[in-house]
């Protein structure tokens, strides 16, 4: 191997007792694009921050053109030749696009009170290169989302770095914008820069990367070409939960004319990013519906819109009542209870107190009865009743979160990504509990999952969400044939 432009060896980072990154190593040659992929919480973003010096590694080395830069302050690393494109930016409100690019070209000196006249020309050249030449005089507040991303790109390459790190290059972009951004990134490769793309999944960057490295729970699980990584057994297990199989099951959904939940043409914007684009789904009484999609596809946004936690356009009706104008808490009391991806437990309160709060709106008798039923469904919670929620294991926390949501006696239970970061043994327990829930109660469930193996067996119907849109709908039996192949 010739001398690598960027060489990372044995990189390790601990936050308290948690190992976020363990012994990660890779190298990128000049003119090469490496994709660093992994689901939420896999440690990929931490790796990027460690390279940039935003976090300090506990161990390991980062070499730029052979020189050790691990542990340097960020501004020195930037000047040594590494540029970073952040996913979320906070541009200055009173400055124009041109001024933002000029900022990135300024020397870090306290004595240069006036900018070099050449800066203006250089800034304009960079602007034309990334496609901002028509909006030079505008303020960031008036820019379209893609142009804000272009501005980030422009700033990152202003100092002509030899290594470019890009965080989620295509998040929130339309297909044509994705194409033009890909072209820009290929341009970096042509110039001989080393590029690191960090993303949730291989699929979105597969066409662009020369090699990919997959991470899970802080460790490397696969490396190679995009195809090899996509076909890798362990990667498929992480994303899909193993091979896709649909259990034949009797649909329990009633065929009532009007659905329990009707989401019609709902769109959500985060700032300027389109997080949900004209999405319609229905859930009938006693039905189990799964929405599957990779991280970042828009599942959480959809559920938050239903729960009244984010503003949206379109209509959402529950039991034939429109939910617009109802507060999130009132929606929860009306019977739509969400158990979020982040669990949102009361960490410094005991398991019993968490459950108690879930049942606060019930009568005393109903609460006792519901609690007894739930402790039967999740026996481990009875053993842990006096323990603080924060001290539970990940799987136990997930069970507590589900049990706490069920304490509210929901008509519709929304489960967002319950398998996130859990070990296979726990998944099995969770799966059994869901099956029991489904067969022994009248509950209606809307499940959001990346893990298809977990989502399929329970479901009466499946929706596939990709890039903020519903792209497929059907029974689980048809999923493997029609949607499974292109899923990852």
């Amino acid at each position: 191997m010739s001398a690598a432009r960027l060489e990372v060896r044995g990189l390790t980072k601990r936050f308290g007792g948690l190992v976020a990154v363990r012994d990660i190593g890779f190298s990128i040659q000049p003119g090469e694009i490496l994709g660093l992929i992994g689901p939420n919480g896999s440690g990929k973003s931490t790796v990027m921050k460690l390279i940039m010096g935003i976090e300090r590694p506990n161990a390991g080395s980062v070499r730029l053109n052979g020189a050790e830069i691990a542990g340097w302050p960020t501004h020195r690393i930037a000047r040594a030749g590494i540029g970073i494109v952040f996913q979320h930016s906070r541009p200055l409100h009173r400055q124009t696009v041109l001024e933002h690019i000029k900022l990135a070209l300024l020397p870090d000196s306290l004595l240069r009170l006036a900018a070099d006249p050449a800066v203006e020309g250089k800034a304009r050249a960079i602007a034309s290169r990334v496609g901002l030449e028509t909006v030079l005089g505008r303020h960031p507040g008036t820019l379209a989302f893609a142009d804000l991303r272009r501005l980030e790109l422009a700033k990152a390459i202003a100092r002509e770095p030899s290594v470019v790190l890009v965080d989620e290059p295509f998040a929130g972009l339309t297909p044509s914008e994705v194409a033009s951004f890909s072209e820009l990134i290929r341009g970096f490769r042509a110039e001989g820069k080393a590029v690191l793309l960090v993303d949730h999944n291989v699929k979105s960057v597969a066409a662009l990367v020369d090699r990919a490295l997959a991470m899970y729970l802080g460790e490397r699980i696969a490396e190679g070409t995009a195809e090899t990584v996509m076909r890798d057994e362990q990667v498929r297990r992480v994303y899909l939960g193993g091979s896709i199989e649909a259990a034949a099951r009797v649909s329990t959904g009633t065929d009532a004319a009007s659905p329990l939940l009707a989401v019609e043409g709902v769109s959500v914007l985060y700032g300027k990013a389109q997080a949900l684009d004209n999405v319609s789904i229905t859930v009938r009484e006693r039905e189990f519906v799964s929405v599957v999609g990779l991280n970042g596809a828009g599942k959480t946004t959809l559920f938050n819109a239903v729960s009244g936690l984010v503003p949206y356009r379109g209509t959402i009706r529950f039991a034939e009542r429109t939910l617009a104008g109802t507060s999130a808490a009132a929606i929860a009391r009306a019977g739509i209870v969400q158990c979020p991806e982040t669990r949102e437990l009361f960490g410094e309160m005991s398991v019993a107190e968490n459950l108690e709060l879930g049942g606060a709106h019930l009568t005393n008798a109903a609460r006792t009865e519901q609690l007894a039923w739930l402790l039967d469904l999740f026996p481990i919670l009875a053993e842990r009743a006096r323990q603080n929620a924060a001290t539970l294991s990940g799987g136990e926390q997930q069970m507590l979160a589900i049990a706490r949501a069920l304490m509210m006696r929901p008509r519709l239970l929304i489960l967002d990504e319950p398998t996130l970061g859990l070990a296979p043994v726990i998944l099995e327990q969770l799966s059994k509990a869901l099956a029991r829930l489904h067969t022994t109660t009248e509950i209606t469930v809307l499940l959001g999952e990346q893990n298809v193996t977990f989502a399929l067996p329970h479901a009466d119907r499946i929706y596939v969400l990709e890039h903020a849109r519903i792209i497929w709908e059907g029974p689980p039996a048809r999923f493997a044939a029609e949607a499974g192949a292109q899923y990852l």
Binding site: A329, A332, P340, L345, M349, E353, L357, A360, R404, M408
Partner: protein
């Protein structure tokens, strides 16, 4: 002899400081608001108690009740007129809400101070003691009222502890301070939780104001210094930590009493300031702070 005197006086003063600070820290813990009109709440309660007790000759007990109610009313006014409009304003960027609430409540406190000075003049007032007489404690003649104040402070703090840890309403407050979003998902309206915590804050500050007026006295000029001392105690103990505030109140109370007796009364406020700076530099989350 002097040692016992310091122990006794320090205990009473610290208890009062603790009561003055717990409401402030509870409000921050549950709703994230640092109320810089805090001194105003205390003095309003003190002044109304004085007005009703001596101005209207209705006795100290009635005055005390009126004072607590005045503290409650002023707390609600602060929330409705200053804090909620800022929290709901669309023109104020989210990341700047904090500085706006600080500036807004500061201005509100100044308005309160000048209004009080206009109505009641800047002369210090003292509400007559609830009970008279002195009791010797280990040879130190201690006013019964001082003992009553210390006991009353601890009774109120104890009641607060029971409320938070033993009632369902209190657990809601605790949950809101840990994870407000989790509480929303369980069907609790955060706006109601906030209203509740402002009510508890008003009652606690009202009590502290009334007791202050019967012990050390109060004047409109005390609005600023009272806010500053509550803020210091709360930061020393750890923002949002009720237990931390109690410990810090005793550290500050005893340090001040010690300095006043052993060095000079004019220097009493300096050692706590130095301790505060050291803590903020070395342990910014405060003595018992979580974050």
């Amino acid at each position: 002899m002097e040692g016992v005197q310091i122990l006794v006086d320090g205990f009473a003063i610290s208890a009062l400081y603790a009561l003055g600070a717990v409401g402030f820290t509870l409000l921050f813990g549950v709703s994230g608001v640092l109320n810089l009109a805090h001194g105003g709440t205390l003095v309003v309660a003190a002044m109304i108690a004085w007005l009703v007790a001596t101005g209207l000759h209705l006795g100290t007990a009635t005055g005390a009740l009126a004072g607590v109610l005045a503290g409650l009313a002023f707390a609600f006014a602060t929330y409705a007129a200053v804090v909620r409009p800022i929290q709901r304003s669309r023109a104020i960027p989210r990341e700047e809400t904090e500085i706006f609430i600080l500036t807004g409540t500061l201005l509100w406190g100044i308005m309160c101070q000048t209004a009080l000075a206009y109505i009641f003049t800047t002369n210090p007032i003292t509400v007559p003691a609830l009970i008279g007489g002195v009791v010797p404690i280990l040879g130190v003649r201690t006013p019964r009222n001082e003992i009553l104040i210390a006991l009353a402070c601890w009774a109120v703090i104890g009641a607060l502890w029971l409320l938070i840890n033993r009632t369902r309403t209190g657990k809601t407050l605790l949950a809101a301070s840990i994870n407000p979003r989790g509480l929303t998902l369980l069907g609790f309206e955060l706006s109601r939780v906030h209203l509740l915590v402002w009510a508890i804050y008003g009652v606690l500050a009202g009590f502290a104001g009334v007791l202050l007026a019967t012990f050390l006295g109060a004047s409109s000029d005390a609005v600023g210094p009272l806010t500053a001392s509550a803020f210091s105690i709360v930061v020393l103990g750890g923002l949002g930590s009720v237990g931390g505030s109690l410990v810090a109140a005793y550290i500050v109370g005893y340090l001040e009493t010690l300095t006043a007796y052993l060095v000079a009364p004019t220097l009493r406020s300096i050692p706590p300031l130095i301790i505060l700076i050291l803590v903020v530099y070395l342990r910014p989350q405060g003595l018992l702070g979580r974050r």
